[in-house]
Symmetry: C2
Subunit: 364 residues, 2 copies
């Protein structure tokens, strides 16, 4: 590193006008990936210039796209994207400062990160996949930035654009120790319990959530608590704790009998459970409490499920699709750091990935 | 920059074991500076090694101190620290990756930042001084990191260790636009109004605050609202807005008649105002509201003063010496990013400066 800094000192005039360029490959150009590409086209950052090297969806790949309108070359195709070919091309490139953005959510792509990072290709992703595979894979990925070989960023995997992961990382790196993280990390769950409290039947809420795009196409993916479990697994591992997904206790909102149904069957039967949820909600309200879907991590483990919280508490006041995270550490022991806000949405998620990209760019 | 990244790719084995070293000069080794030095002595960060190049208080400077016990060479002295000599030594050094930490709060030291930065010496500070001088000086300091010449970090100037400044910077850099920042950024003020609400007389609160170390030795420095005004000036400038201190409306809690008193005279007379504050607090409580000292920045300007907030709002629920900041932007328009927690204290402030140092180190 010495040469660079030296030259910085010696060539003040030159470096004052030098903007760093990073080369981006965007895998997945749906909601988040597509929004990211559009945000980049409009961005004029004084420190970092981002050039789109390539992009792909599950069907095709475009190298060196039109920078103003990167989607113009995407055509309707029946091909299947060859990931190995893309990864080979990126890892064998002579170009420096390549960043691979994974907005696919694909497990197969997640397994490519180690190869990319080991070849000096940086990775930024909003996906929870890679970090929730085996602990040993998480450790491998985390080792690359630590040894200075390549950056690996996943700020948006928890809380979208909210500064949660970086805050936890900074605390740990500066010698603090996280003793507890608790809160709500699912906007879908906030929506469900907020609606329940307003008297909307459970089955109606689930149908609405799907229609409004607040839930996955199959709402059971949210109702199972799997999304929350994965986010807490990532938080715990980022704090330096080692554990696997199966060590987490998760309370599922999917009735046992509806787990194996087809999606249509699920929607046909879900209204059978309206009375159960109405009564559970009423019981909480009577005690001046509200239902919330809460996760809690401590060094003893992770616990995910429905909790009754005080109506006038920060969690009780949660509205819309907001997230709220409380971080307790050795230094923040009596009063935690609290971070609250919208924890989903393509604009804020893409912007969070963009911040990760710029942070990598500034280090290049 | 190209050479470095290239060598990263070519020498994976080598770089895997290379920890970056930064050289620190700590100006001011009181509460925050002293705590920082102690935190560094205990730190074992895998990416960045921090070596203390020198430290000083207002009386003397120690170069190359004992790394395990850096204070051991500090003696009682009647000398006066020669800042020009220190700055000259740092700017003429052949060493790279020097970071100057200013924990003095001194205006004279704040005016040295530009010289340090222009010579490639990075600056990290919890002090509000430099950023609240003329806008033109703020712009000059901000230009150095933008042009890649040297880093300038001041995360802890607002909210201590809470991730406020970095969050604002990331939002702006990723193309978002801040439309409003509001909240409480003075732990002292939270304490005063929380105590008032509990029935403690105003004069007693002020005496307690001083004794507990929650206020400055002369409590008028907090009561004037100057601390809050400066923090909001820094927030607004960090958002990219240009304004001077005199453009800010500030409601002072110091009675006009007591402004020019000696400190003893101030404490002798402050109880004359107990009735006024008792009645003002009662009036708010009757309306189910609470008094809070709130700042608000919008592109139209900054307004600082006492506000009546709903008892059951986030600001109404604020306790202890917590801060709470709400950030509204184009992308976070309906629901803001909220960051809450302890906004003062030597441990969390020093840890925040340490995070700034590590972030600089990783870029070196």
């Amino acid at each position: 590193m010495s040469i660079t800094l030296q030259s910085k000192k010696k060539n003040d005039l030159d470096s004052a006008f030098r903007r760093k360029t990073v080369y981006l490959f965007v895998a997945g150009v749906g909601a988040v990936g597509g929004t990211l590409v559009r945000q980049i086209a409009k961005l004029n950052n004084p420190e970092v210039h981002i050039q789109i090297l390539g992009l792909c969806n599950s069907k095709q790949v475009i190298w060196n796209p039109n920078q103003e309108d990167p989607f113009s070359d995407l055509i309707i195709s029946n091909d299947v994207t060859d990931w190995d070919q893309i990864i080979d091309q990126l890892t064998s490139s002579d170009r420096e400062s390549i960043i691979f953005v994974d907005a696919t959510g694909s497990k197969a792509v997640a397994y490519q990160y180690a190869k990319l990072l080991s070849h000096g290709v940086h990775v930024a992703t909003p996906s929870k996949r890679a970090n929730t595979l085996d602990q040993i894979y998480f450790d491998e990925l985390a080792s690359f930035p630590r040894s200075g070989r390549a950056e690996y960023k996943y700020e948006t995997a928890v809380g979208a654009g909210l500064p949660i992961i970086n805050t936890v990382k900074n605390l740990v790196e500066s010698g603090d120790e996280v003793t507890k993280i608790s809160g709500v990390v699912s906007g879908t769950m906030t929506y469900i319990f907020d609606q329940l409290q307003q008297g909307v039947p459970f089955s109606k809420i689930i149908t609405n959530a799907k229609e409004l795009g607040y839930s996955e196409p199959d709402p059971r993916d949210d109702l199972s608590g799997e999304d929350v479990a994965r986010k807490f697994l990532i938080l715990a591992r980022t704090c330096g704790y080692k554990l696997e997904r199966e060590h987490i206790n998760v309370e599922s909102l999917v009735p046992q009998e509806l787990i194996d149904h087809q999606i249509e069957g699920f929607f046909d039967h879900i209204s059978f459970y309206d009375t159960h949820w109405k009564s559970r909600n009423s019981k909480a309200l009577v005690n001046n409490r509200r239902l919330r879907y809460v996760g809690e991590f401590t060094p003893e483990g992770i616990d995910i499920g429905i909790k009754e919280v005080a109506t006038e508490s920060p969690l009780g006041n949660l509205k819309g699709t907001d997230n709220l995270i409380q971080i307790y550490t050795k230094r923040y022991s009596s009063s935690p750091i609290v971070i609250q806000g919208p924890g989903a949405g393509k604009d804020v998620t893409a912007a969070g990935v963009l911040s990760d990209i710029l942070e990598i760019g500034k280090k290049c």
